[in-house]
């Protein structure tokens, strides 16, 4: 997974401080790992996620809504999320 090309961040967004390629991980496993990784982020830091699982298209916006983090941009399988301040 780590050898795959990382998608470039759109010019309108701040460069993410952290990138995670979750591969095919999905559903609860993905969400719990995402939570753990966000615990190590500072307020307002931007996180770029790559999640190939098809469920991520709906799950990631829902997760952001529940946790108060901001989904800045999504272009499946890439997601740019800003941690709540």
């Amino acid at each position: 997974m780590s050898n795959r090309t990382r998608m470039q961040t759109p010019n309108s967004l701040s460069a993410p401080q952290v990138y995670w390629d979750a591969g095919e991980m999905g559903c609860g496993e993905l969400i719990l790992q995402l939570k753990v990784r966000f615990q190590n982020l500072g307020p307002s830091e931007v996180f770029q996620l790559r999640a190939d699982d098809g469920g991520a298209i709906e799950d990631i916006p829902a997760w952001c809504g529940m946790t108060g983090n901001t989904l800045l941009h999504q272009q499946h399988p890439n997601y740019w999320i800003q941690k709540k301040g």
Partner: protein, 120 residues
């Protein structure tokens, strides 16, 4: 978004698919900042025994032991139905650390403010 979420899990090796998906959903709830409880009842109580879940690996999912370990490490709660556990002759001395034997009142207490509960 604070709140609670309960997964009532009634399966173990009699249905590894359901047992696994129950913990996958519980991990999704915990990861979404919910105060999350897995209530193991009927056949599900066997999962609380040390070593029982070690060889459960449903295709397409992470191994059940890994899902359970991650759940507990991230602060999830596992309650084990006391009468279900006793009637199967299981031993409290062999419980996975972090699991708690309870009666029905603890489940009712957790749900009493309207927390959602899904069953597998």
């Amino acid at each position: 978004m604070p709140g609670k979420f309960c997964v009532n899990l009634t399966r173990s090796k009699d249905d590894c698919d359901r047992a696994t998906v129950g913990f996958v959903v519980a991990n999704a709830a915990l990861g979404s900042d919910k105060d999350t409880l897995v209530f193991l009842s009927t056949e599900g109580v066997r999962l609380a025994e040390h070593g029982y879940a070690d060889d459960i690996h449903e295709a397409g999912f992470a191994p059940l032991k890994e899902l359970m370990t991650n759940f507990l490490a991230a602060g999830g709660k596992i309650y084990v139905c006391s009468p279900c556990f006793k009637k199967r002759g299981l031993s409290e001395t062999n419980l996975i650390p972090g699991t708690t034997i309870v009666g029905g009142a603890k489940l009712v207490e957790f749900l009493s403010d309207g927390a959602p509960c899904v069953s597998f």
